[in-house]
């Protein structure tokens, strides 16, 4: 049974490869689509379905995987959507290419999570010229011209960092505390904002000191390697602040390898609350997790419907984030969707 499953996946792999090739060919060939999209749904095709082109950042973390799943599970044909999904593998040029091909196809709405904040004006102008509304999810762009996109749905990263910092101040701030920070991808909005939020929250407390800060690129492998370096260079680490769960999970491996007990000898605070992270929180290896809700699918579906219907939408929609300590996690884990 397992083997059949494998074989199936392999065949799927081949088929997807061929499809990807033909998609690129379409995008490259069609350049005169400028006014074709004026009618709004002219390129949509299939009856009443709203065609949506979505360009995802990649699959760099468990959070992203949950985010992708939420979007794919919500924007289904049953719900009235025709979703074209593409994975940019964390490269802006892939994402721009995907958006251009969506413009060429004349989809009804383009949605995407920008890999980085800057450099989107040109391609967003093209979408605007083709009359295709754009919705941003999870991460924003730094364009001066706000008319380039309809709405931005996502969490407030600064607030997440502040929530994490506040917990540290309230629970551990009474004694001297050496903090090491595992940053996200250098220059990415969540990394910049979560760092700033945390720093502002601990600012007033002279006990808490960030003694080292280095990027772990949001991945477990790098989180582990950087933590190994921190442990060698600093014998007295009290707390790890990781910008996402995956780096925190990597740090757990490094701490255990050093013969210390994660969550006890070295406390860990992370952001995201993906399943593996929550499990580690329940197991007592992580001490506090600030949620960054990846289930943006339903919100995105509502916004897209409003945009297509011509209803006014809010420019910024902040997703509600919770936060969990170990007790709350044990309660929440059985019913978590991701």
């Amino acid at each position: 049974m397992k083997t059949t499953n494998f074989t199936k996946r392999m065949f799927a792999a081949g088929a997807a490869g061929i499809m990807a090739l033909s998609l690129t060919a379409c995008g490259g060939g069609d350049s005169g689509g400028g006014d074709a999209g004026a009618g709004g749904d002219s390129g949509g095709g299939d009856g009443d379905l709203i065609s949506v082109g979505f360009s995802q950042v990649g699959a760099e973390s468990g959070w992203r995987a949950a985010n992708t799943k939420s979007i794919q599970d919500t924007l289904t044909e049953e719900n009235g959507f025709d979703l074209s999904f593409s994975d940019a593998q964390q490269k802006q040029e892939n994402q721009i290419q995907a958006i251009r091909s969506y413009i060429a196809q004349g989809v009804d709405v383009i949605a995407f999570s920008p890999v980085v904040e800057s450099g989107w004006d040109a391609v967003l102008e093209e979408a605007k010229a083709a009359d295709i509304p754009v919705v941003l999810t999870d991460r924003s762009v730094d364009s001066q011209d706000e008319t380039l996109y309809e709405s931005f749905i996502g969490s407030d990263f600064v607030l997440e960092g502040e929530t994490a910092g506040k917990w540290v101040v309230d629970n551990l701030g009474s004694e001297p505390l050496n903090v090491v920070e595992l940053q996200g991808t250098t220059g990415a909005a969540p990394a910049v904002d979560r760092k700033a939020g945390f720093e502002s929250a601990i600012e007033g407390n002279p006990n808490i000191k960030i003694i080292a800060s280095q990027t772990g690129n949001f991945t477990r492998t790098e989180g582990r390697q950087v933590m190994e370096g921190f442990l060698q260079a600093n014998p007295d680490i009290d707390l790890v602040y990781a910008h996402n769960d995956d780096m925190g999970l990597g740090a757990i491996e490094a701490i255990e390898a050093a013969g210390l007990q994660p969550g006890v000898d070295i406390k860990i605070v992370t952001i995201d609350a993906v399943k593996d992270g929550m499990q580690a929180l329940v197991d007592g290896k992580i001490n506090y997790i600030v949620e960054c809700n990846p289930l943006l699918g339903p919100d995105l579906a509502d916004i897209i419907k409003d945009v297509v219907a011509g209803n006014p939408v809010e420019k910024r929609i902040v997703v509600e984030d919770k936060a969990f300590d170990q007790a709350a996690a044990a309660e929440a884990l059985p019913t978590r969707e991701y």
Partner: protein, 347 residues
Amino acid sequence: MQLVRHRLFWPLVALVALLVANTINTPSFMSVRVQDGHLFGALIDIMRNSAPLLLVALGMTLVIATRGIDLSVGAVVAISGAVALSFIGSSPNPEALSTVLVAVGIALALCFVLGVWNGFLVSVLGIQPIIATLVLMTAGRGIAMLITEGQITTITSPAYRVIGSGFWLGLPVSILIAGGIFALVAVLTRRTALGMLIEAVGINPEASRLAGVQSRSIVWTVYAMTGLFAGIAGLMISSNVMAADANNAGLFIELDAILAVVIGGTSLAGGKFSLGGTLIGAFIIQTLTLTVTILGISPSVTPLFKAIVVIAVVLMQAPVVRRTMASRRPQGPRPAAVESKPVEVAA
């Protein structure tokens, strides 16, 4: 003087310089202590973390020696981890040793086949190596993504964990595996004629074919081995964090491997190769990564710092620079003596 002219002198100086810089910053850097019955310390971390890169670079050295290149190793690393973890994850008994052995077997067999595929494209169809392996480099991550269904597959299996995080006789299992394979390849290439034949193919494929060397099967074998080694590296990387991350596992490891080969003094033009050089190259790269953390270099200037170290090592090895330095010495110039020096026995 003789020592300075050895082709591995400058890479070794770079490695020692990095270690010294770390020791100055953190005096305990070189210390290795016993922790839960195994060795623990920065040097052990460096060795353990270099193991996957060393394996990939080992295959890359042989491929480069035949005038080829293999860009697909990073994708093969991702596939290997994805296959092994998906199998263990979907098995009813993920803790069992037999499950782990079967998973490892399937993953390595598949990676070997992928290597054979690369070798087939290069040696039989005669496609340029960079193009032939680019196919799998691009498609491979997609395959890995489909196997893991776009998720990061996480498992709990103490038996699988041993590959990346285990210890045997106090030493990390991963470095023992990599070291064993390294020694085997060194013996095979330096104690038999195989190494010479590989170099012959790299120096002039047509001439060596006319001389009776079976170029095709040698090239084919070398790519197949590289696929297999990348597969083992993939098992180590996934076992290290007990997660298969199709997008990031082994990302850019092909470039690090090529860099390790180049730092080690093997020319990208093919021909003579140095396995010992590759070993030092892999250690330099891994030490550099750790150095960035230990010296607390800001993430925004990390790439610049790495680039400066790498360019310094590569420059010191460049024939032109070495000739110029040699001619400055009072003994007078000894042009080109360095380049024509015969290959040292590796390892």
